[in-house]
């Protein structure tokens, strides 16, 4: 006597029979018939034709029958909208039932009937239910608002249901609060700009109270909502963290992960010096480890999130390597994720253990897993330099197993190890060559060919080896063909005498017999290079290769920060921001980590100052803007000059009073008589104080002349090019120069050398070497330099703006890890973003251009078709600037994000970028 009886059908008109039963007078028969209908519906049979008959059964006191009919209605109302109206009256009546269970059931079902016509009738009952005395009804009604919003958003707004919903956040019953939050969150997702969940300290307090008392699911909604809140300071952040921490001990893993999200986000605001910060870090590890003992599906999601967490805060799990060791019966998706995290946690301290494990995995049966394990060994070698040797010998052991795919993977990673540590492990080449014949995968063949070509001079029979590949040239994949072409050209350049025939053969295969344009083009380029200029060919083909980066799969810091805000969501599983995959682009709001508050930041800076910039060297850009004028006028320029008496408080350069009585007449008059000196502008920096430059035609340039920017090679080789023109009638002698205190301590490194007296209308060009050891005072703008030139006639004051890149020093390349750490460490509020327009450069060109101005590319990555360059530079005063340059092929604009502890330099760094890139 089970429900399966409902599935037995008679051949002849099943629907017809059911119809008859539904209209039966006997209650029992009716109910049995409805059950049969539901059973058919659940297995996907179409029983919509019975709609009127089923609705007729709705008016009943029998709760089960009522529920069954409701079930049916929800499924089919949409296909029978006119019929569905028939049910409305019963619903409205049920919403007034004395039994709260019936009231709740009615309002719940009504919301599920997705028919426009019904929604109008729903409003009044819903309004009542939202204010029902029974919390069970209120909580059900809260969800109903979300349902209604999905059907008719405008109606919900017009009826003021959203406000009622917001009020429910302060309800006395925690379950009502949780459901109101859930409903509002769902509605907010389709209205990203709306302020539906406008949280303030009071509502946060309400939520935190409800958090302790509501069901596990409610806790998830509340925690996810809390994560969107931005505490006003570190104290509030800490107090929220304290109240959220107990959730880490919840049995429901989703509650735990949502709590982790809140903590990871708000931790960002806490000073690392706080004891509490350390406590919190310690509390995060155990729950994450516990997630790994859950069911495999939960483990998978947890591992994807842990992958983000170990990149953001490696310290949390650095001692927990062992829990990521793979059990042989873990599902493959868990194994692969664990492997990934093992490599991320690998360090000198644990590398021996990790390698032993990886070697074990490489002998398992699952091919995908084995391959990844072999690759992982290679990644360890590249990541932990001290382990490289051991990794190589492990790989050699694996090659000895002669398991085909193991050998091939090993060769692919050994190629990378060669790239990372040139001239260290080439002794193993002989072993690799032994396996040449067994390679059947393009990637492995290409890697092997690359190795043979690259080390042709050490392999006696390189020509034979490469020749053997040539026989089946046209059957090879493009990857192998290209590699073979290059390898043979390399070989030829290294051993030209013996291999001429071979190179001609491959060139003709590539250019004449191939249909592949890439191959043909590469062939022609080599051919022409070799025939016109073999020396140039050598330089090009055998050029020194840049080192490969350590970890190719780290998530870029900005994306990582965004993903941390999405812990526990689908975005965290895909490691993509929701904007990259959320259906229909429902305007996704970008989330960002909260900035550290000012108080904690200052407390923290000494500890976290980036490399090479101990606190002492931190920008002394601080001295307040003082009395510039006074400063300038008090220049010690030898013999007192005529009339510089005014120590006015006007900071305006070029103010007329500046020059005092001596030049009064000159300046005052529009028809002046030839002023007695001038410097023709070098083209840098618009002169400030136009009055002055007008009069004297005097301005100076710092750096180099007319557009050809030559970056200083080292600190101290900065120079200022001046052009002095005597526009006066008398001869000028006794030139001297002095700078006002300025932001970067620029000062003349030598006296101004004007050897001969300057006759009227004569021009002299001088290059004045500068140093950066002068006294420092913050200028406005930052790159403003005020200069005084003295001669036998008078003192002349002028100012100029110098481009910041003259201050970029040669050792401005930051280590990769340090870059990541520093980037994370600099608060987000210090980040500045700029657009560089009309700069149609590709990443390589931009990178090399910038490098020649001492802006160094630390890493490069391609993300969804965009090239991301991560760059660092250091100023003469030890300030580091970190940059992310995003270049989209085909789009002439690129985006520059700058992070620096002294954010005031960003604007000028941006200008430097623009100047360099557009030159």
């Amino acid at each position: 006597m089970t429900d399966s009886k409902y599935f037995t059908t008679t051949k002849k008109g099943e629907i017809f029979e059911l119809k008859a039963e539904l209209n039966s007078d006997k209650k029992e028969k009716k109910k049995e018939a409805v059950k049969k209908v539901i059973a058919s519906m659940t297995v996907g049979k179409d029983v919509s034709a019975l709609f009127p008959d089923v609705v007729n059964c709705m008016q009943t006191d029998n709760l089960e029958l009522k529920k069954l009919v409701y079930l049916y209605l929800m499924n089919y109302a949409k296909s029978q909208p006119d019929m569905a109206i028939m049910a409305v009256n019963t619903f409205v009546k049920d919403c007034e039932d004395p039994n709260p269970l019936i009231r709740a059931l009615a309002v719940r079902t009504m919301g599920c009937i997705r028919v426009d016509k019904i929604t109008e009738y729903l409003c009044e009952p819903l309004r009542k239910c939202l204010k029902d005395e029974d919390p069970y009804v209120r909580k059900t009604a809260a969800v109903c608002v979300a349902k209604l919003h999905d059907i008719n958003a405008q109606l919900v707004e017009d009826q003021g249901f959203l406000d009622t919903l917001k009020d429910l956040i302060s309800d006395s019953n925690p379950m009502v609060v949780a459901n109101a939050v859930a409903a509002l969150s769902e509605i907010a997702e389709s209205h990203p700009s709306s302020n539906l969940l406008d949280l303030n300290p009071q509502s946060i307090n309400k939520l935190l109270t409800a958090l302790n008392e509501c069901t596990e699911w409610g806790q998830i909604f509340i925690l996810d909502c809390l994560a969107n809140y931005m505490p006003k300071d570190d104290r509030e952040a800490q107090s929220i963290c304290e109240r959220v921490t107990p959730r880490l001990s919840h049995a429901n893993s989703a509650v735990v992960l949502s709590a982790v999200k809140v903590l990871m986000k708000f931790m960002e605001m806490l000073s690392k010096d706080l004891d509490y910060y350390g406590t919190l870090l310690k509390k995060l590890a155990p729950p994450l480890v516990t997630l790994l003992s859950a069911e495999p599906e939960l483990q998978y999601v947890a591992l994807r999130n842990i992958n983000l967490i170990v990149q953001k805060r490696p310290e949390i799990l650095k001692h927990e390597m062992k829990v990521f060791f793979v059990k042989y019966n873990d599902p493959i998706y868990v194994k692969l994720e664990k492997l990934d995290i093992m490599i991320r946690l690998a360090s000198q301290a644990n590398i021996a253990q990790v390698l032993a494990e990886l070697k074990e995995y490489a002998t398992e049966v699952d091919v995908d897993f084995v391959r990844k394990a072999v690759r992982a060994i290679g990644r360890c070698a590249i990541k932990v330099e001290q382990s490289a040797e051991r990794c190589v010998s492990t790989l050699l052991d694996l090659i000895q197993t002669k398991v085909n795919y193991v050998v091939q993977e090993a060769i692919v990673v050994i190629k990378d190890i060669f790239r990372k540590y040139p001239n260290k492990y080439e002794s193993v080449i002989a072993t690799l060559c032994e396996n040449l014949d067994s390679l059947d995968e393009p990637e492995a063949r290409a890697a092997m060919i690359w190795i043979v070509g690259e080390y042709a001079e050490r392999i006696d029979n390189a020509d034979e080896l490469l020749e053997s590949f040539l026989e089946g040239f046209h059957d090879e994949s493009t990857q192998v063909q290209l590699q073979l072409l290059t390898a043979i050209v390399k070989l030829f350049l290294k051993k030209p005498t013996e291999t001429q025939e071979l190179v001609q053969q491959v060139l003709s295969l590539a250019t004449q017999d191939s249909d592949n344009p890439d191959l043909r083009d590469r062939g022609y380029i080599y051919w022409r290079l070799l025939s016109t200029d073999p020396v140039a060919a050598k330089e090009v083909v055998l050029a020194e290769k840049p080192l490969i980066s350590e970890e190719t799969d780290l998530i870029e810091p900005t994306l990582l920060d965004e993903l941390i805000c999405y812990i526990g969501t689908l975005a965290s599983v895909y490691h993509k921001p929701p904007s990259a995959f959320v259906e229909g682009g429902r305007g996704v709001v970008h989330k960002s980590l909260p900035p550290r508050t000012a108080s904690s930041e200052s407390a923290e800076s000494p500890e976290t100052a980036p490399t090479g910039a101990p606190p002492g060297e931190q920008p002394d850009v601080i001295p307040a803007q003082g009395d510039l004028l006074g400063d300038l006028l008090n220049l010690d320029l030898g013999p007192p000059v005529s009339g510089p008496p005014l120590a006015t408080s006007s900071v305006q350069m070029g103010a007329v009073d500046l020059l005092g009585g001596g030049l009064d007449s000159l300046i005052g008059g529009t028809n002046f008589v030839a002023p007695p000196t001038a410097a023709v502008p070098a083209n840098l920096g618009a002169p400030i104080g136009s009055g002055l430059s007008d009069l004297f035609d005097l301005t100076s340039g710092v750096g180099t002349l007319s557009g050809s920017y030559v970056a200083p090679k080292a600190v101290g080789s900065i120079s200022m090019d001046l052009q002095l023109t005597n526009k006066a009638l008398q001869v000028m002698t006794d030139f001297a120069i002095q700078f006002n205190r300025n932001s970067f301590g620029l000062a003349p490194a030598a006296p101004l050398q004007v050897h001969a007296p300057l006759s009227p209308n004569q021009t002299v060009e001088i290059s004045l070497p500068l140093s950066t050891v002068g006294s420092v005072m913050k200028m406005e703008p930052l790159n403003n330099l005020q200069v005084a030139v003295k001669n036998n006639i008078d003192v002349f004051y002028f100012s100029t703006l110098y481009p910041l890149h003259i201050l970029f020093v040669e050792d401005g390349k930051m280590d990769r890890q340090m870059f990541l750490a520093t980037w994370k460490d600099i608060p987000n509020e210090n980040e500045a973003q700029f657009q560089i327009r009309d700069c149609p450069l590709n990443a390589e060109a931009a990178s090399s251009k910038l490098q020649s101005s001492n802006i160094f590319t630390v890493a490069k990555r391609n993300v969804e078709g965009q090239d991301m360059l991560y760059q660092s530079l250091k100023l003469t005063n030890g300030i580091w600037v970190l940059a992310e340059l995003r270049i989209q092929p085909g789009n002439p604009s690129c985006t520059l994000s700058l992070k620096c502890r002294a954010p005031e330099v960003s604007q000028h760094v941006y200008q430097a970028y623009e100047t360099i890139l557009k030159n």
């Binding site: 079930l71 379950m175 992960l257 069911e295």
Partner: protein
Amino acid sequence: MIHSLFLINSSGDIFLEKHWKSVVSRSVCDYFFEAQERATEAENVPPVIPTPHHYLLSVYRHKIFFVAVIQTEVPPLFVIEFLHRVVDTFQDYFGVCSEPVIKDNVVVVYEVLEEMLDNGFPLATESNILKELIKPPTILRTVVNTITGSTNVGDQLPTGQLSVVPWRRTGVKYTNNEAYFDVIEEIDAIIDKSGSTITAEIQGVIDACVKLTGMPDLTLSFMNPRLLDDVSFHPCVRFKRWESERILSFIPPDGNFRLLSYHMLSWDVGKINPQKLPSLKGTMSLQAGASKPDENPTINLQFKIQQLAISGLKVNRLDMYGEKYKPFKGIKYMTKAGKFQVRT
């Protein structure tokens, strides 16, 4: 939130579908079938599968795939936890969770699912409360129902949902009041070829079966609570009390439930004589005619030790407040192998 649920058997038939919002065509499962085909074994089907308009989140239990369909950004753990709850509920209701049983009880299944989610939001997931709303089938009730026409559906308001202890129904009555606690520890370990331990950890749980009248308030204390530093609690446990006094204080749910689970990476095994290290040896013989295993099979060990929690965890005492009667109390300990793997 959760849009729909499909139950699929291992031969790829959809044998039940349930929609909590608009109906999602079952053709969405084609993406699942593709993934199923790619994964050589059922266990290896990835738990999150993207499709052009939906996401499929699945768990594989009792040879059934429970596939949830979601359309918007929903925490995947939330969905997977919920699916596990569905499995547990079926098991609780029908004793076993299998395709024939689900098909046999399809109406109850449907009613239960309807009560578990509303518009994709969890509604009643505690089996205590569900059983009040929808009576689990018993042979007797099925017979009685057919004869008298009474139903599975209760006409009670699920009172527990409104009280501050939503996990316990009110008005519980027993003639024999009893509370049993099982401390069960599983050892997960990987032992390498040479016999040394690569990893070892304890996954411990305290499972309870509490049948007490009224609203009993229990406290349970340990001899050595310091052992527990990585613990997950049932929502009934008062966390503050644990934090301050290391005492478990709670109003228990009615019936079977997991009071807490804990996790240990290292533990004290007492004194071992270094001259006579304990060792356990075993031989593995293949059945005649069986094909030779892969070169280095990993061996899964199973063992049980009664009346011992290997970590040394010991319950000190259990007290009951709030009710007058004297309950019968019992504590049992057991240690067994979890994922205990020996590499060869």
